[in-house]
């Protein structure tokens, strides 16, 4: 919190001194731990400064720092600037080069920490020569790359992940078709991102709170949301968790620690930081995980959230699904940086880029990020590289803005499902028979779920008015009464599934 002290404002002398004392006590990583706070000690202390340094220049520097102090310089950390110039110039034993070598190794104690100088007029490049590398465990054919992989998953976990991926894929296929047939009004698929969905869920604990964007229903699937739950929400019937309030795919589950999906993009990121702050105050052994896409990272909320999380030391894992497309906007038009991973570093957050189509890599990365976030109480950023095989949603036809063979290529050659299957098959954990059984079962469940959901009742009229506030206010009670009377008097003007 002391970082903001350096804004200019009138601070009385008393407060200034109090802050100096307080700041020495709080271990602020950006403040130098000076051995003494008085400039006079450095003048007299020969042992730290070396005997060969010119006493006169030391004295002059002391005067300079005292002068700035006398001016009431509120940036008290630069009171130590004088000392710093001295302490780094002590290494220059021979003064034959005069003022040139004296300047070279200078370090200035700016607000925020020490910064060294250079005489090279070099700009940091906008993009690095080499892009940040991608962490992966399995190659395209499902072989482990490094022979000494420390963490591999157990058979049980691997098969649960794999069958979850296949189930998600099947559910998406059928629900998409159902929308095309007019049984659903809207749907959004996660084709190509099944590994991200299931592997990240597998790496988290059920106590970790998830704030997703909308392409992460696999997490709910992993945690126990049934096919029927999905279907009920999408059809907006009375059996669904949502009382028919939200449009399809806006799932949520308090029990499963999955916050209800919200349409405005990226709003879930600062909210995640707020939740993590709350968790921190409760000292829980869990973290918050916020998912978002490459396009979402352009919103203002992304920057506010990452900056804030770093400053507040909030235990959040920010998980970016960089799938190359934001509806029709490719990443080349979304940002000019090397993806999202470098933005994490820009905010002071440890970040990693991972192969999003490699389930084992995603699992390892999330597992590790989660541990780090909780033990070190700080945010972590993961950027998972993948491809959005889906159209953005049922309202989109992506063949209009990208070539069909590009989609096909990613769908087949880089399918995360195929890759993991090859690995589990080679391990002897899976066979064709089990594969076909899984597909049959998943198909059956999905079909049944949609059929059942359609037969369910729609929500009652009362649910139009409840939950606006915690308690039903009198004006809404009145409105409902008046509405029911109107329906009774004019039944022809209203549909007959209102009750």
């Amino acid at each position: 919190m002391s970082l903001w002290l350096t804004k200019t404002r009138t601070i009385g002398g008393y407060n200034l001194i109090k802050k100096i004392i307080c700041n020495n006590i709080r271990l602020n990583p950006y403040q130098p731990t000076a051995s003494s706070s008085s400039p006079f000690h450095s003048l007299l202390d020969n042992s730290s400064n070396g005997n060969s340094v010119n006493f006169v220049s030391r004295y002059l520097n002391l005067c300079r720092s005292s002068y700035t102090a006398a001016l009431g310089d509120r940036n008290y950390s630069s009171l130590r600037a004088g000392e710093q110039i001295l302490s780094s110039s002590e290494e220059e034993e021979d003064d034959d080069h005069g003022e040139y070598s004296f300047e070279e190794n200078q370090v200035m104690d700016f607000p925020g920490g020490k910064i060294g100088y250079t005489s090279n007029l070099n700009f940091l490049p906008g993009s690095p020569e080499k892009r940040v590398q991608c962490y992966r465990v399995l190659d395209e054919n499902g072989f482990t790359i490094s022979s000494n992989i420390s963490k591999l998953v157990s058979k049980e976990l691997a098969l649960k992940m794999y069958s979850g991926m296949v189930t998600l894929n099947t559910m998406d296929k059928f629900f998409y078709e159902a929308q095309r047939q007019g049984r659903l009004s809207f749907y959004l698929t996660s084709f190509g991102e099944e590994a991200i969905n299931l592997a990240s869920a597998a790496a988290l604990s059920f106590d970790d709170i998830v704030l997703a964007q909308y392409r992460e229903p696999g997490i709910l699937l992993w945690r126990g949301f049934t096919m029927q739950d999905f279907a009920n929400q999408c059809l907006g019937n009375n059996a669904g968790h949502g009382k028919g309030r939200q449009m399809p795919i806006h799932y949520g589950s308090k029990n499963l620690n999955f916050i209800t999906i919200s349409s405005p993009l990226t709003t879930q990121l600062p909210q995640a930081v707020g939740m993590a702050y709350s968790l921190k105050m409760d000292k829980k052994d869990s973290c918050v995980v916020a998912f978002f896409g490459d396009g979402s990272a352009s919103e203002g909320d992304f920057h506010a959230a990452l900056n804030f999380a770093a400053v507040m030391d909030a235990p959040v894992v920010f998980f970016c699904r960089n799938n190359g497309w934001a509806i029709s906007t490719p990443v080349t038009e979304q940002f000019r940086s090397d993806g999202i991973v470098v933005k994490g570093q820009a905010y002071g957050i440890p970040s990693i880029r991972v192969d999003g189509n490699d389930a084992l890599a995603v699992y390892n990365a999330v597992r590790s990020a989660r541990e780090k976030a909780i033990s070190e109480q700080r945010p972590i950023l993961i950027e998972a590289m993948t491809y959005r095989v889906s159209h953005h949603s049922t309202s989109d036809d992506s063949t209009k803005y990208r070539p069909i063979d590009e989609i096909e290529h990613w769908k087949t050659t880089h399918s995360p499902i195929t890759r993991l299957r090859k690995w589990v098959e080679r391990k002897g954990w899976w066979s064709d028979k089990e594969e076909s059984m899984l597909h049959v079962e998943a198909k059956k469940q999905v079909k049944q779920a949609i059929d059942e959901a359609e037969k369910e009742e729609m929500p009652p009229l009362r649910d139009m008015f409840t939950d606006v506030y915690e308690e039903l206010p009198s004006n809404l009670k009145e409105q409902e009464t008046v509405l029911r009377e109107t329906i009774q008097r004019h039944p022809k003007d209203f549909p007959n599934n209102i009750y």
Partner: protein, 378 residues
Amino acid sequence: MLGILRQKVGGATGLSSQGLGNHMLRLRPVTSALRNYSSATKEMTVRDALNSALDEEMAADPNVFVMGEEVGEYQGAYKITKGLLDKYGPERVVDTPITEAGFAGIGVGAAYHGLRPVIEFMTFNFSMQAIDHIINSAAKSNYMSAGKINVPIVFRGPNGPAAGVGAQHSQCYGGWYGSVPGLKVLVPYSSEDARGLLKSAIRDPDPVVFLENELLYGESFPVSAEVLDSSFCLPIGKAKIEREGKDVTITAFSKMVGYALKAAEILEKEGINAEVINLRSIRPLDRATINASVRKTNRLVTVEEGFPQHGIGAEICASVVEDSFGYLDAPVERIAGADVPTPYAANLERMAFPQIEDIVRAAKRVCYRSAPISATAS
């Protein structure tokens, strides 16, 4: 019910010690204010009222925390949060980077998880940078999550014009937030209002937008022992009749209540007995009290500082026309700020906001007394 103040302060002619910034009329000595109260009462500024309310609520509930720009080390941009950092520490009084969208979103997230944040906007003009979080995240969450996620958050800060701060620091947001279902919008006037309503807002399970007024912060009002008690709360959604009358109803909120009371004194001398209603709450709007008053007086003048179109006066007028049309003896008069971005120059700024004289003339007009409509009244 201990702590809930009665609606009507019978016979009280209002609080005479409301020095109002640069629109001063003579100040009556303090003793005359005390004449109407049975025992000696303390005086308290609105600033201290808000500060004490925050302090007490933070002491009572460890989940309450304050967040905003300059609320901690600086003691608050308007010193409302003075002393809280020292008392409760940086975990509960959080100084933020400059990002309204950021800290509003973070507050909403914290509220999702059960904390009770009090988010301060330096002025509600800056809340526009965070308005998506206030409306789409805070207001609608309980409904959209089918009652599973409630958001017990309070957004507070100065609203409306101050003095000489120009267009981007002077807008009133009562109409904007007042139209959103899921929010509660409160507009305190006196110290009693400030204390009681802020305590209720913090204890409320729904998101509350708490619109204060910068010029009222320094105003002193008498407060009774009941008001000073730490359990004192005012009900949300109930207006207060500051001054009873029988000839014309004047509704107002925030600083305009003071102006309306002054106008009522002037009207009294001319034989018009005005009833002044302090709305206290824009959402829910106390339509019952307003309509009951209009049915008694048969005439209505609404006063607000915000822009006229889609403002509070428009809503009150519609409500009265819907519920009490037959009782109206004259068309409703709406007094509002001028329909222009607020100019800076002092002479122009004075013309851009309602003055006491405007209220007096409007009241006379509805009473069919001769007071021609001047170019400046809206």
